[in-house]
């Protein structure tokens, strides 16, 4: 029995269809690609386009009806009213601070995990980073409100070590202080950093994993002290990961509205504004215009990090 010829000449409609697909590879490709592309095109890009369209409409102040003629009036309202500008600046400074703090905490952790920890310790680190991400977001935020509260565990701890003066001094800092950590921008900042830290550690660790140890040895071999090796080899090669992580922390902070409404000072953030404008206020165009702000800021941010050479090592 000639089994090879047998397999080739095996008849049947499935076989014929398979041969047809094999000969028409373009058709085969389209068959596989069209459904996901339709999903991406309509659900993602379509809604984004709808959002942008909403933002160039305006609202009639008397009738509260949306006027469907293209205008930049909503954007003008957004950019000229000091209260709105304050919200944008407040959110932006929070996002930048959170990103910088997360990067400063994440880099040493990622570097230690990848470069120095044993296989077992490394696995423990990954568990410690990932498991908190599986816990409900709201549970974590409310837990933090308890931790930061006036009678909470943190102020208790400051009392125990006799440093309540330090806490009070921090809370009296102009602009970012408040009656308690739970109702100050510092508290909000702490919660944001806690929430988004894993999104910073993981991409940095992934970038560092790809740097072979021999590069560090080569650098030392050529006369570079550890600090120089860090500056000239490790850091530039980790930049793509740092950039990816910072896009996460930056955009997640820009868009979040739950943390600012549960923890922290009363000042509005972009996310809260979007929530309020499209809900109770019913001003969809202004909500859409506010939603465009993070998109523009992230685009600007990406251009900025690209200029810094963050993607050169890709």
């Amino acid at each position: 029995m000639n089994s090879i010829a047998g397999a080739i000449s095996h008849p049947g409609p499935l076989r014929a269809f398979s041969s047809f697909l094999y000969r028409r590879s373009t058709f085969y490709l389209l068959l596989l690609l069209v459904p996901p592309l339709l999903w991406l095109g309509t659900v993602y890009l379509g809604t984004l386009f709808a959002l942008l369209t909403q933002s160039i409409y305006s609202i009639d102040d008397f009738t509260a009806q949306i006027v469907r003629t293209p205008t930049l009036a909503t954007y003008k309202q957004l950019l000229t009213q000091p209260a709105n500008l304050d919200i944008v600046l407040r959110t932006l400074s929070m996002s930048i601070s959170v990103t910088l703090a997360a990067a400063a905490i994440a880099f040493p952790i990622a570097n230690y995990m990848v470069r120095y920890a044993s296989a077992r310790t490394k696995a423990a680190f990954y568990v410690a980073i990932l498991v908190p991400m599986w816990v409900s977001y709201l549970v974590k935020v409310y837990a933090w409100r308890q931790i930061l509260a006036k009678e909470g565990i943190l102020s208790w701890f400051f009392n125990v070590i006799g440093a309540q003066g330090v806490l009070e001094a921090i809370l009296q800092l102009p602009g970012i202080g408040g009656p308690s950590l739970a109702s100050s921008y510092i508290g909000m900042f702490i919660v944001f950093v806690y929430m988004w830290l894993p999104y910073m550690i993981l991409p940095i660790a992934a970038a560092l994993e790809r740097v072979p140890a021999s590069l560090m040895q080569a650098s030392a071999d050529l006369g570079a002290r550890p600090g120089t090796t860090f500056r000239t080899v490790i850091f530039p090669l980790a930049m793509p990961g740092l950039a990816a992580g910072s896009v996460f922390t930056f955009s997640l902070t820009l868009g979040d509205y739950i943390i600012p409404s549960i923890v922290g000072a009363p000042g509005y953030f972009i996310g809260m504004m979007v929530y309020q404008q499209q809900g109770t206020a019913g001003n969809i165009p202004l909500a859409a215009a506010f939603s465009v702000v993070p998109i523009v800021l992230i685009a600007l941010y990406l251009m900025f990090v690209k200029r810094l050479g963050a993607f050169d090592a890709l």
Binding site: S214, Q217, A218, A220, D221, L222, G223, A224, T232, V233
Partner: protein
């Protein structure tokens, strides 16, 4: 004269494994010194101990007479060509080569001039602005070499530098490296598992096995007078008879080696030549190598011996697997070996 590199009873243990087990050696300035051995024999660990990437658990490492046993790599006057080249992917070729002077705070104009000279030395002018990813394996190799030489090290360490190249390129680079070493007069310490490479390039070779040096000698001496069964087999590809087999063949249990070209293959019907040791066996395989043929013969005594014969001589012998032949070799072609 002070040795360029000296090991005094150096040991390095990883967990339960004694990677380097009491190694002493001395490498002269300007010498081309090879460390040869199978993987896991300790040769690469020795190289890392010279570079400073690893520190010895016991013993002393000396460079130019100075004890550097716990001096970090960036304070040693040696440079390394890495097996995977270890070029910085985010820097251009010229930036890679100029890295050494750069971290030593040499002014930008001067280090670029020197880097260009180095690239000329390794025949890679015109590639200054490329990225490592845009280079072939052989070109990366040359960049790695230029980068390691720019600091004018007293000792250049090469860790299986030609391992990833194809045969023709490897042979070209062997000659080039040898010429470069003669011209610059730098001590080369060359780690390889390829005995042909070690023998053809080096002034002296240290043969490593299980963390120890089995023999340290010139290529000719290693080939002609191997001291241990391991060296005879690994370096010369020689036939080794030990214990019972040696006793049955020559009446003494002392191990001996016979190189394959000294073994004659005869039909069993022929008589034994005078003054020769003979043994009958069964042909396992005959490999055709052009001018020569390589015979693998399973001796009735249990050992498998190889013989290298002229192809023409082989053609009228029974060469099918399973054929009976007699092997014969002159008594004076045998090399007595140490130990079991």
């Amino acid at each position: 004269m002070t040795a360029a590199v000296e090991f005094r009873e150096v040991a390095r243990t990883f967990g339960m494994v004694r990677a380097v087990d009491g190694v002493s050696l001395s490498i002269e300035p300007g010498e081309f010194f090879a460390m040869l051995g199978p993987s896991g024999s300790g040769k690469t660990t020795c190289l890392r101990l010279i570079a400073g990437f690893d520190l010895p658990d016991a013993g002393h490492v000396l460079l130019d007479g100075q004890d550097v046993s716990d001096v970090p790599p960036y304070e040693r006057s040696v440079n390394t060509v890495f097996q995977d080249y270890a070029l910085f992917p985010h820097m251009s070729v010229v930036e890679n080569v100029a890295y050494g002077p750069r971290v030593r705070k040499v002014a930008s104009a001067e280090r670029n001039t020197r880097a260009r000279e180095m690239l000329e030395l390794v025949k890679l002018s015109g590639f200054e602005d490329r990225r490592p990813a845009q280079l072939s394996g052989g070109q990366k190799q040359r960049v790695a070499l230029a980068r390691a030489l720019i600091n004018q090290p007293k000792v250049l360490l090469l860790d299986e530098p030609l391992g990833a190249l194809d045969l023709k390129l490897r042979e070209e680079m062997q000659i080039e490296l040898r010429n470069l070493q003669r011209r610059l007069g730098i001590t080369f310490v060359y780690v390889t598992h390829d005995q042909g490479e070690a023998l053809s390039m080096s002034d002296r070779v240290a043969v490593f096995n299980h963390g120890r040096i089995e023999q340290m000698a010139t290529a000719r001496e290693l080939y002609m007078k191997p001291r241990t069964p391991f060296v005879a087999r690994f370096v010369g590809g020689a036939n080794v008879a030990e214990g019972d087999v040696a006793e049955k063949l020559c009446g003494t249990r002392r191990s001996f080696a016979v190189r394959t070209e000294n073994i004659h293959v005869l039909p069993v019907t022929d008589g034994s030549p005078a003054g020769a040791i003979t043994a009958e066996g069964t042909v396992l395989d005959v490999q055709y190598h052009g001018a020569t043929s390589r015979w693998q013969v399973r001796l009735d005594l249990g050992e498998t011996f190889s013989a290298t014969r002229n192809a023409s001589e082989s053609s009228h012998l029974p060469s099918a697997p399973g054929a009976r032949v007699r092997l014969a070799w002159p008594r004076d072609s045998m090399v007595a070996l140490e130990g079991p």
